[in-house]
Symmetry: C2
């Protein structure tokens, strides 16, 4: 099963897995595992639940409340974004996620008095990415945008009321 | 039962009840009552659960999760703050409250990309005020501070990413 297409996909996955953002995401998951239950899980397997293909999306119901596992997936993704931003700027970024009923919610990333990222969620049930590369690209883009916001408005970040 | 002290207290309560902030708070509560179950409740009775004296505070346990009624009390208070800010500035302010376990949580009031108010809660179970006047004073102070923040940083409020 090592035809050319598979080799390319595997290479791309390996590259993604060794990126700083995905490493941070893996660290967030390992930090949850206080009993070592996931010790034998590979890094890939740990974050595999983020990969939701189009076919999987279609089969996911969006009418019930978001379950704890999905919420954890969302929270740890934004924790990884926050930590990556902090590593690059030295500024603490905090995610605040407020889920309402049935997958509707709001997420903000805050640094001091600045909202560095704001997102309204309408289908949190389906929170995921089509591929490992897309997960990485989205994570990196959020980190980059967050770093830019912090550098653009240092007075608001450091504002003391 | 109308000695001087009581008369003064009643006067102060009447003044508080007719203030714009308390009127807004009452409106928030009436808006929850879609079935008219509270039609016969006076404005005073509607917001009486906010009044928590020192003696009451001491008797409130703070070891369990915050119940839905307490959370609603917190949410509607900050809704009233947000609406009052909006009325004075024309800017939409949004409260986001994230409760963790056992009364620990975080509240932010956001206008555009500006955090106009930020608060860490450590005993949400006891959310309340010693008297109607203190409820009013705290509400007005939050509104005033929010209006000032919005006026100080219009670029952040109106920032479009």
């Amino acid at each position: 099963m090592t035809n050319d297409t598979n080799t390319i996909t595997e290479d791309a996955q390996a590259t993604s897995l060794s990126s700083p953002f995905i490493k941070e995401l893996v660290k967030q998951w390992r930090a949850q595992d206080s009993h070592g239950a996931w010790d034998k899980k590979s890094n890939h397997d740990l974050i595999a639940p983020y990969i939701i293909t189009k076919e999987m999306r279609r089969s996911l119901p969006i009418i019930s409340d978001v379950d704890a596992r999905t919420l954890q997936r969302i929270e740890l993704f934004y924790n990884a974004v926050s930590m990556s931003i902090e590593q690059r700027t030295g500024v603490t970024a905090v995610p605040i996620i407020k889920m309402h009923h049935e997958g509707f919610g709001r997420l903000v990333l805050i640094a001091g008095r600045l909202v560095i990222h704001s997102r309204t969620m309408r289908d949190a049930h389906r929170f995921g990415f089509e591929s490992m590369e897309k997960l990485l690209a989205e994570g990196e883009q959020l980190v980059e945008a967050g770093v830019e916001m912090i550098r653009a408005f240092p007075d608001i970040v450091n504002y003391n009321a």
